[in-house]
């Protein structure tokens, strides 16, 4: 390759990169941000289309009649729920059996690492009830799931609709897959227990009784959340655990049916607008996309469907929303919509795989695929690579410029001046940063009892406040490590450390963006400027302040406020702070309950990386 072996061209390219490094970095950053914002601009997006051939045009008429009866069943369910004080297992079993399903139950229990606000206790026990509608003619190799979580006080209409649909489906002969109607208790914990039992895995340490009945491999799943008798719009929730999204075909299916039946459909709670060329129309699309990015970056499942995605099962949650609009949709229409969706899913020959798995949706009818949004992230990573080459050539250019045409004695003098620093001076900050990260990961849970004894806080608050305390303690590190190391750091030492840290950050952000693009992009937005411009020579107080503002914890704080703003529910500072604390506790809990990777990623990898840059700032 000419570029790598021709020394003249190399030297020209390297000198160009070194001279123009800062302007190119700034341009790349602006370009990356502009590209990202431009993704929501409608001419740059594609209209959604159905990719799976098997779900193409089937001209069927949906005929579900029993909406009112479903609502009555829902009211009965509510009454029994209030009487029992939890999940009315016996009534559910009896009702499902009356509708001709094979009914089974599963009991589970889980010890929480610390009680959160919702649960208020350490041990969570519950029962899932599910009924299987066997396909009349086909072999029992595939299944579809319709689930409705049993939450205290809400969601009764969903369970009623589920039972009504069960009765209607039982009388049809065209089902080729088994349909499993699942009512799970304690939302995600119950769903996790059911899925683990179904697939014979045990990744999160939950206790559950084995499932007595199974239905074959699950092809798709829908989760229903309906809290009122009539609704004005249906909301689709796609984001799952660790930012995983279902196949876009499922969203396309939902949108197609909403159009056919004439129900208003929204995504992120926002209705689509047609005026993309006006400023307010564009900002509406940007808000929708940013909501999706925020939800995906948090890594938590935003509906019961989020846990299905890990098992290769495409799933989505459909929420019914009752707001102040004139046109109301009743339960029969929702039933017809679900019937239509399930009939289409019934026709699937293989799992949904034709359409995209990585996408962003600025509205329900437009999407941005990975090929379009990755360059935004790529531009930010290029900044890191440019900085790397700048530091690397900066070290050696000074030696070579002294070498050209000089006597050997001068060369020896120059090279002994710039003796490479010992491995120890680079290794020490690395090891100490990672030990702090490990402390941030393990200490909050481990010391919650001790904290509760000594301070008047609840366990949840103890965990969160310990985490914040460890985080802030890490800021004091550079002043202490320098007391251990002999004297102050050398001039070359911080350059080597910065080389290692920038490379580490680039690899880390790359891997994160591949798994969860939104998290990678948000981290890149804040950490790349930090990485590019931190040196020991910039003014200390101002840059320390900027570094703290751009650290992961403050990014999370601003994201919480931004998220509330986007949802048009702005909060005051007090409420926002409490919300921030609860977000941290939810993140830690998600990690222990469902295996979410956001908390270990930030505590064990991103935070030590940021600490390395903090170390470089205070190198002298």
């Amino acid at each position: 390759m000419g570029l790598l072996s021709d020394p003249n061209r190399r030297r020209a390219l390297i000198s160009l990169l070194t001279r123009l490094n800062t302007p190119i970095c700034l341009v790349c950053y602006m370009a990356g941000v502009a590209w990202f914002m431009g993704l929501a601009f409608e001419p740059f997006t594609l209209r959604t289309y159905m990719s799976e051939n098997a779900m193409g045009s089937t001209m069927v008429e949906e005929r579900f009649p029993a909406g009112e009866r479903a609502l009555a069943t829902g009211r009965e369910f509510a009454a029994h729920k209030k009487k029992v004080g939890g999940m009315p297992v016996d009534w559910l079993v009896k009702t499902m059996q009356a509708r001709g399903l094979e009914v089974f139950t599963q009991s589970f229990s889980r010890t929480l690492p610390f009680p959160d606000e919702n649960k208020e206790r350490y041990m969570v026990k519950g029962t899932n009830v599910y009924g299987i509608l066997r396909a009349p003619r086909a072999p029992r190799t595939e299944a579809l799931v319709l689930s409705a979580p049993c939450s205290p006080g809400d969601n009764n209409q969903a369970v009623g609709l589920l039972l009504g649909l069960a009765q209607y489906f039982r009388n049809q002969i065209y089902w080729a897959k088994d349909i499993i109607f699942l009512v799970n208790e304690h939302d995600l914990i119950g769903m996790q227990a059911w899925l683990e039992g179904y697939h014979h895995t045990n990744t999160t340490g939950m206790d559950w009784s084995p499932l007595q009945g199974r239905g074959g491999s699950i092809q798709a799943a829908l989760s229903l959340e309906l809290s009122s008798d009539v609704i004005t719009s249906l909301d689709l929730v796609l984001e799952g655990l660790n930012g995983q999204l279902p196949n876009l075909d499922l969203a396309n299916l939902f949108y197609a049916f909403c159009q056919k039946i004439g129900v208003l459909c929204t995504i992120q709670g926002k209705l689509q607008r047609n005026d993309w060329d006006s400023v307010s129309g564009y900002s509406h699309a940007v808000q929708t996309m940013m909501l999706m990015v925020m939800k995906q970056a948090s890594g938590r499942p935003w509906g019961d469907h989020g846990l299905f995605l890990r098992y290769h099962i495409e799933a989505a949650t459909i929420k019914g929303i009752n707001s102040f609009r004139q046109y109301k949709t009743d339960a029969t229409t929702i039933g017809r919509l679900l019937e239509g969706m399930y009939r289409k899913l019934n026709n699937l020959l293989e799992r949904l795989h034709q359409s995209y798995f990585f996408y962003l949706m600025p509205s329900l009818s437009h999407f941005v695929s990975i090929g379009y949004y990755m360059p935004a992230f790529g531009l930010l990573t290029v900044i890191l690579l440019l900085r790397e080459t700048h530091i690397f050539t900066g070290r050696y250019l000074s030696i070579y410029s002294a070498c050209i045409g000089n006597s050997p004695l001068l060369i020896k003098y120059v090279s002994s001046q710039q003796s490479s620093p010992g491995v120890l001076s680079v290794l020490t900050p690395l090891v100490i940063s990672h030990l702090t990260g490990v402390a941030l990961y393990t200490l909050p849970i481990r010391f919650q009892e001790m904290a509760v004894e000594h301070f008047p806080v609840s366990e949840t608050e103890a965990v969160v406040l310990t985490a914040i305390a460890v985080y802030t303690a890490g800021l004091a590190l550079p002043h202490n490590t320098h007391r251990f190391l002999s004297g102050e750091g050398t001039e070359q030492g911080w350059r080597v450390l910065k080389l290692v840290a920038v490379l580490y950050l680039a690899v880390l952000l790359g891997c994160t963006a591949l798994i969860n693009f939104s998290l990678g992009f948000i981290l890149a937005l804040t950490l790349v400027p930090v990485a590019a411009f931190v040196t020991p020579h910039i003014p200390k107080v101002l840059s320390a302040f900027i570094l703290v503002i751009l650290s992961p914890a403050c990014t999370l704080l601003f994201s919480v406020f931004f998220f509330q703003e986007l949802q048009e529910m702005p909060v005051s500072f007090q409420d926002g702070w409490l919300l921030y604390l609860s977000v941290i506790s939810q993140g830690i809990l998600d990690h222990f309950l469902y295996g979410s990777l956001v908390y270990p990623l930030i505590a064990l990898l991103v935070y030590p990386c940021w600490l390395l840059f903090w170390n470089i700032l205070f190198w002298k």
Partner: protein, 392 residues
């Protein structure tokens, strides 16, 4: 391995199932040590490290001696004195080689995974040690053991011959009788021990069906499980009609570089061993990260070339990033189902390209240093202006 042992215990030939592809001597070795498998693999790694340590120490002594003779004979131009290596700088190199091998994450990974690559590496390291010490018989025996395990170390014959001839002061000249006589001796010892080992395997198991299972498997690549090599993706999409042709092309690729490299590097057989090991581990049909760890362990021996290396920064960044991306894309493909084999193969290709760049960079640096030692460090064109060296 466990399946092979189980079948052996039942009295059935272990190769009748399609899973076991190791040689009979290995299966008998494991018959005795299967309960101590972890210790066996750790022991193999330690043997490799110790063998490499002793071999590099001896090699350094010879390099220094040759350099001293050349200095006394005044063969180096005056301005390349800084390229001369000093004992002080060479003192820690054997220790660094051993540490490079033992602390390499790839070595640790293959030890934890209990891959038989550790045993292969141990045999090759013992072969290198016996060659450098000058013991012709042991070198031939270990080489035949290594070839018996997997066919590719056959290419290490050429550097071993060159080194041993250099050590015994036999000139490498096609017209000399001593040259041919030495080759005949070595070939006799090598083929003899290979024959003995193969017949021993036959008598151990009582049949010849291990030959197609072991060597047929390596050569004809029937199993296309994804690994870090280049073969699986190609052969997964190949039409049956052309399979034999591409199989021959891919396999010849491994053996093809021996002759040109031997001709170019006939004065420097140990560097030739390094290049050959790298070529084998990149182009063989089922590479593992343990193979890569073996040739990476040699890098401290050539640390004096660092000022001539041009792409080392880019290559090391790419190798690091690819190693980090391998498990991520594997997870996305197999567990999340969101990616497909193209993503994984892209990273495999990038990884192999980075390895090739690394090896060719070291080759360039080595040749350039030799050139400077002959013609001087600061090159002048005929009119006295400064010249630059370009590798065409």
């Amino acid at each position: 391995m466990i399946e092979g042992l189980a079948l052996l215990d039942l009295g059935v030939s272990p190769y009748s199932g399609d899973v076991f592809h190791e040689t009979p001597l290995i299966i008998y070795l494991f018959h005795f040590v299967v309960d101590y498998a972890e210790i066996t693999f750790m022991l193999a790694d330690v043997i490799t490290a110790v063998a490499l340590y002793l071999a590099v120490k001896d090699y350094n002594k010879q390099v220094f001696r040759k350099q001293k003779f050349a200095l006394e004979a005044d063969r180096y131009p005056l301005d390349c004195l800084e390229l001369i290596r000093s004992p002080k700088e060479m003192y820690y190199i054997p220790l660094k080689v051993a540490m490079f091998y033992l602390l390499n994450p790839f070595t640790i990974l293959s030890c934890v995974a209990k891959s038989t690559c550790g045993l292969n590496n141990a045999v090759i390291a013992l072969f290198i040690l016996s060659t450098i010490k000058g013991n012709v018989l042991l070198s031939a025996i270990f080489l035949s053991l290594a070839t018996y395990q997997s066919i590719y170390p056959l290419t290490l014959c050429a550097p071993a011959l060159l080194y041993l001839m250099q050590r015994q002061y036999i000139p490498v000249n096609f017209r000399r009788a001593s040259f041919w006589w030495f080759i005949v001796q070595y070939a006799f010892m090598y083929l003899g021990s290979l024959f003995v080992i193969i017949c021993l395997s036959f008598f151990l198991l009582g049949s010849w069906d291990y030959l197609p299972s072991v060597y047929g498997f390596i050569l004809s690549v029937p199993d296309l499980t994804p690994n870090i090599g280049l073969f699986w993706y190609f052969f997964a999409e190949m039409f049956e009609h052309f399979r034999l042709f591409f199989l021959c092309v891919f396999q010849i690729n491994v053996f093809f570089y021996t002759i040109p490299l031997s001709i170019k590097l006939k004065e420097h057989p140990v560097f030739l061993i390094f290049m050959q090991l790298a070529v084998i581990s990149i182009f063989k049909s089922y590479p593992t990260v343990g193979d890569i760890a073996l040739y990476l362990a040699f890098l401290p021996v050539w640390s004096h070339l660092h000022r001539f290396l041009r792409n080392i920064f880019l290559v090391s960044c790419v190798l690091l990033a690819c190693s980090a991306l391998f498990p991520v894309l594997w997870h996305l493909w197999i567990y999340a189902g969101s990616a497909n084999s193209n993503f994984y193969y892209a990273i495999t290709l990038l990884f192999n390209v980075a390895q090739i760049l690394l090896v060719s960079d070291y080759f360039y640096a080595f040749l350039r240093r030799e050139h400077h030692l002959t013609y001087g460090l600061y090159l002048k064109r005929k009119d006295g202006s400064e010249a630059t060296l370009v590798l065409k």
